[in-house]
């Protein structure tokens, strides 16, 4: 197997007496070749939990994660060091990653020191500056400043500069741009694309914002309440969504065109979740919001299977 990352039947249950299944039988693989993989879902869909499991911050209750064919729970110290270098995370809140009492420089110097990337002061200085330029930042604007003196977009891009320094193989970007405004998003996404093309860095891009995933392309998984409801090439899935939830997501992206406004008002049941959370998971979890709901939806859990339309496309819905 020549996969970079293999996630197999991942499951995560929280709580002991009342349980919440945050992740339910999620499998996917990312190839060795540099690629983008999108994980899309609303809050509570389990996407952040998956990120945490892959980063080794949390032990799954079921399934396992292989990185380069080795379980990420490996006890091998050397392997772990390598893993932590090759897999880097960018989180939602760029501020909380920084220690407010240190200058931004420290964030960039630490990996150089930790992974012994340079031999001289001069060399590390040059490396930092070139990394900053690679993420569209002027070194003079950033170096010597404290985190609070930077904008959210700048802070997020400093994290990317850090990644540029480390040159990992995989970036886990968890809601990395949800707190950055529209203008800053494009720069960030372009950097990710550059990384893939020029530096062979893959990205696992986790978001609730389908439009950014759309922009990045690659593969996509749509999650709903911990389960995969649709998977495939991003282009295919966004152009021709099969699952009613995926369809709803695509339709809800506000089109930047005043002539293409939403036609009808969204029924309330499709928008909001009920106050009462069902504990019965042997069914389609989207049933209560689904406009095409059938009896079968309440009774059996739809399996993820190949879509009739396209070979690369998978969907978990009783309609197909």
């Amino acid at each position: 197997m020549a996969d970079l990352l293999t996630v197999t039947s991942l499951g995560q249950i929280f709580g002991t007496m009342t349980t919440v299944q945050a992740v339910d039988d999620v499998s996917f693989t990312m190839p060795k070749e540099p690629s983008i993989f999108n994980l899309v879902g609303e809050s509570g869909s389990g996407k952040t939990t998956i990120a945490r499991i892959i980063l080794g911050l949390q032990k799954p209750t079921a399934g396992h994660v292989l990185y380069n064919n080795t379980d990420i729970g490996s006890k091998d110290k050397q392997w772990q060091t390598l893993f932590h270098r090759e897999v880097q995370a960018v989180f939602q809140n760029p501020y909380s990653v920084y220690n407010p009492v240190y200058k931004v420089d420290r964030v960039l110097q630490t990996p150089i020191r930790k992974f012994k990337l340079s031999r001289s002061q001069q060399e590390s200085r040059e490396m930092i500056e070139s990394s900053l330029r690679a993420v569209d930042l002027r070194p003079g604007d950033v170096l010597g400043k404290y985190p609070h003196q930077l904008s959210g977009g700048q802070r997020q891009r400093v994290m990317l500069a850090r990644i540029h320094l480390i040159q990992p193989r995989l970036i886990i970007a968890d809601e990395a741009v949800s707190m950055v405004d529209a203008a800053g998003r494009v720069t960030f996404l372009n950097v990710l694309l550059d990384f893939r093309e020029r530096l062979n860095i893959s990205t696992l891009y986790i978001t609730h914002d389908l439009s950014t995933a759309q922009y990045l392309g690659g593969n996509i998984i749509v999650l709903y309440k911990g389960r995969i409801v649709e998977a495939g090439l991003t282009r295919e899935v966004t152009k021709n969504p099969l699952h009613p939830y995926a369809r709803l997501l695509i339709q809800s992206i506000p089109a930047p065109d005043p002539n293409k406004r939403w036609a009808e008002k969204l029924p309330l049941n499709m928008a909001e979740m009920s106050l009462v959370q069902s504990t019965n998971r042997a069914r389609c979890l989207f049933a209560e919001r689904c406009p095409n709901v059938m009896d079968a939806c309440w009774q059996t859990r739809p399996e993820l299977r190949k879509a009739p339309t396209d070979n690369t496309h998978e969907v978990a819905c009783h309609l197909y």
Partner: protein
């Protein structure tokens, strides 16, 4: 729905300037902003973070607190009884009455907008009671308002953490409309929500406008959101309004280079399919403590001419029509 015919604005911001007073200098957060919102209109206010949108919203409500300071201008609202009041000038007790009754605020729909230790009922009724309603009237009104935003009255007895983000946002909207104010100010009302919920909330705002004819000032950084529901749009850059016009005009023919960039920077599938990259804004967002002289956008502007760095542009209507105006030396 564009109103080309002049009409008396229900909310008129006149030459409003707000600064933040630092230890040695003052930051110009909002500079000489003029805006009018008409009845039954959704006016979108768009700009990058740090451009002064939120400061403007807070100033509109007359709630600027130190170190912020309003150094000039007026915020006039036409009240239910057809008088005009300047929010910045009225005495505190009247100010509090005007808030909510005449101009209500819809916060960002996160949990933190509501007091975590009080039930929804208390948070809705306390405001109503302070605005002169009796206890049972207030409760009745709260029920009604929740119904308007399609929420079950059972929500009244819940605490904020028991609700989903969309519900909290609806509660906030319900609160804002409970006194049927002529003006609603919604500050990034959908930023923290997923797209489906965002859509339902935005549609809720539209239907509120339809039901009550309220004027809504919608603040967002998302051009997509604007395109979906705004009637008119004002683009703000570095504390100034740089372009204003009907949504159709602005999207069809953006005038200001900044507006153009904003529209081009919306991520979607279109650009990528053709293999193109979207172009970001380039350069850094403005630093309110050190605005460049002249047109504040000129350091990032590819069309900048010498004049741009010397003289601040004034509004013109290059298309001839009354609707679209721009502050740019190119026109």
């Amino acid at each position: 729905m564009t109103q080309d015919t002049p009409q008396e604005a229900v909310l008129a911001i006149r030459s409003l300037s707000v600064v933040y007073v630092g230890r040695r200098s003052a930051a110009q957060a909002v500079t000489e902003v003029d805006l009018e919102v008409q009845n039954n209109e959704i006016l979108g206010l768009v700009g990058e973070s740090g451009c002064g949108k939120t400061t403007l919203a807070v100033a509109m409500l007359g709630l600027i607190e130190p170190p912020g300071k309003v150094i000039g201008g007026a915020v006039q609202i036409r009240t239910h009884d057809h008088s005009t009041q300047d929010i910045l000038k009225v005495k505190p007790s009247l100010h509090r009455q005007l808030l909510w009754k005449e101009i209500a605020y819809i916060p960002q729909g996160s949990m933190s907008a509501l007091n975590p230790v009080k039930r929804v009922r208390e948070q809705l009724t306390d405001t109503l009671i302070e605005h002169g309603l009796k206890k049972n009237e207030a409760l009745e009104r709260a029920r009604w308002a929740l119904q308007v935003v399609s929420l079950d009255a059972a929500i009244l007895e819940r605490y904020p953490h028991e609700l989903s983000g969309g519900m909290v946002q609806r509660v906030a909207i319900a609160g804002a409309i409970s006194m049927q104010p002529p003006v609603l100010v919604a500050d990034e009302p959908t930023t923290a929500l997923d797209v489906v919920t965002q859509r339902s909330i935005l549609q809720e705002l539209v239907s509120i406008r339809e039901k009550f004819g309220s004027a809504i000032l919608l603040i967002s950084h998302d051009m997509g959101v604007m395109a979906q529901i705004a009637d008119r749009i004002a683009v703000m850059y570095a504390g100034r309004i740089v372009e204003i016009g009907s949504i159709h005009q602005v999207f069809a023919s953006p005038l200001h280079p900044y507006t153009k960039k904003l529209i081009n920077a919306i991520p979607n599938a279109r650009g990528r399919e053709s293999g193109e990259r979207l172009i970001g804004l380039g350069g850094e967002s403005p630093n309110i403590w050190r605005h460049p002289p002249g047109c504040r956008f000129h350091p990032r502007c590819e069309f900048a001419i010498e004049r741009c760095s010397q003289q601040a542009p004034v509004f013109t209507s290059p298309n001839g029509s009354s609707g679209q105006r721009v502050a740019c030396h190119l026109y």
